[in-house]
Subunit: 218 residues, 2 copies
DNA sequence: GTCTATATCCCGATAGAC
DNA sequence: GTCTATCGGGATATAGAC
C-alpha cells in the first residue's frame, strides 16, 4: 500500500508548500483590496489552485484571513529583538531602524495588511495585541528607561519613542503609493532606501543624544 | 406654479444638508469597514434616509466614495498652510504639528480613510495626489530649503522631513486601536494629547536645531 | 424627491462524484 | 485531495408608482 504508518513527509511537505503559496497569494490580495474586496476565486487563481481546493485547506475566508494575519504579526515582532538592555543604545536604535526599514522594503504587503487590520479596530488581532504585543512593548520600554537612568540617552517617554519609531519606518511601506506620487521613488530604489534609513536614524539619534554629547551622529 | 426661476434656496439648503449627513455617515462606515465592507443599506440607515433616496443623491457607491474622499483630501491639506517662509521655523513647525495632531484627534475617520485609499494604491486619488498634493509639497519643500540656507534650521532633506511629520502625527489616528491596546489611552484624553504633541514637537525641534543653538527647546 | 418592489449579479460555502 | 455543479444569501442598482 502507498500509505504506511511511519512518515508521509513527502505528501506533507507538498501540503505545507501549497499552504504557503495560498497564504502568499492571500496576503498580496488582502493587502491590496482589503478582505471584503478580495474574492476566494481570485486567491485561488493567483495561488494556482481551484476554489474548492482552497476551501479544503482553509475552511472559509475568515480562517484564511486569520492564518495570514498570524504570519504577519510574527514577522512584525522580530525587529524589536534589537532593543537589548546590554547593547549600546545608539547601535541598538540604528539596528532597529535598519531592520524595520528592511521589513518595510521586503514585506510591504505584510505591513499594509497589519495597518489595515488595526485601522479597522483589529477585530481579529486585539486579543494578541494585548496578550503578546503589549508585554513585549513593556519589556522594551523598560530597556529604554534603563538607558535613560544610566544617562546613556536623553530623557524621553519610552512608549512615545516606540510609537514614533513604528510610525516613521512603516510609513514607507503603508504610504509607498503616496511617496511614489510625490517623488517617483520607493524603497526598492537602493539610493532612496539608504537616504531614508539615514534620515530616520538621524532624526532619532539627535533626539536621544544625552545632554553632554557632541552633535554629529557618526 | 411652485417652481419659479428665481432662487429655490430653501429646498437647496435642505438638499445640501442632507448630502452632508450622508457624507458623514459614509465617511464613518467606509473608514471602519472599508468600502467593500460597507453596504449602502448601512450608510442609508446611519444617515436616516432610505436606500433608494441615498442612490438618488449619489448615483452609485463609487460616486459616494469619490465624494467622501474629495472632502477628506481637502481637510487633509489645510495644516500645510502653517509652513510659511516668513515665519520663524520653530514656531511654524510647532504650529504644524499642533494642527495636524488636532486633525488626528478630531477627524480620525478622515485620516484612516485617506490611509486606506493610499494603501490600496490610491485608485481614486492618484490623479489628485500628483496634480494638487505634489505641487503643494514642492512649495513647502522650498520653504524648508530656504530656512536651511538662511541657517535657521539644521540641514535636512525637506521631503523626508515632511514624510516623517505626516507619519508621526497620523499614527495617532490610524493606529489608535493599537495604542489603546497597548496603553489604554487615545488623543481624546487631554493629558495624552498634550503629552503626544510635546513628544512629537520635541523630536523634530531637536533634529532641526541649528548647529550653534543650545539644547532645550523651550 | 421619495418610496416599494424587484431584477440581476456575484460570492461564499456545500454536496457529492472520482 | 481534488474536482464539478449548485445552492442560498446578500448587495447594487433599476423600474415605476406616488
Amino acid at each position: 500500500m502507498t500509505e504506511a504508518a511511519e512518515a508521509p513527509t513527502r505528501r506533507e511537505r507538498m501540503a505545507q508548500r501549497k499552504r504557503a503559496v495560498i497564504l502568499a497569494a492571500a496576503l498580496d490580495l488582502f493587502s491590496r483590496y482589503g478582505v471584503e474586496g478580495t474574492t476566494l476565486e481570485a486567491v485561488a487563481q493567483q495561488a494556482d489552485v481551484s476554489k474548492s481546493n482552497l476551501i479544503y485547506y482553509f475552511p472559509g475566508k475568515e480562517a484564511l484571513y486569520a492564518a495570514v494575519l498570524a504570519d504577519v504579526l510574527e514577522g512584525w515582532l522580530v525587529p524589536l529583538d534589537e532593543l537589548r538592555p546590554e547593547a549600546d543604545p545608539a547601535t541598538a536604535i540604528r539596528a532597529y531602524i535598519a531592520t524595520k526599514m528592511a521589513f518595510s522594503r521586503d514585506n510591504p504587503a505584510a505591513s499594509r495588511l497589519f495597518c489595515l487590520e488595526v485601522m479597522q479596530g483589529a477585530p481579529v488581532l486585539t486579543g494578541r495585541l494585548r496578550s503578546v504585543l503589549r508585554p513585549t512593548v513593556e519589556a522594551k520600554a523598560a530597556v529604554i528607561r534603563h538607558w535613560i537612568e544610566a544617562g546613556l540617552i536623553a530623557p524621553i517617554d519610552p512608549h512615545q519613542l516606540i510609537f514614533s519609531l513604528w510610525a516613521t519606518t512603516q510609513h514607507f511601506a503603508d504610504f509607498a503609493t503616496q511617496i511614489r506620487a510625490l517623488r517617483d521613488r520607493d524603497l526598492r530604489d537602493p539610493a532612496f532606501y539608504e537616504e531614508s534609513v539615514a534620515h530616520v536614524t538621524e532624526l532619532f539619534l539627535q533626539r536621544l543624544r544625552p545632554a553632554g554629547a557632541s552633535r554629529s551622529s557618526r
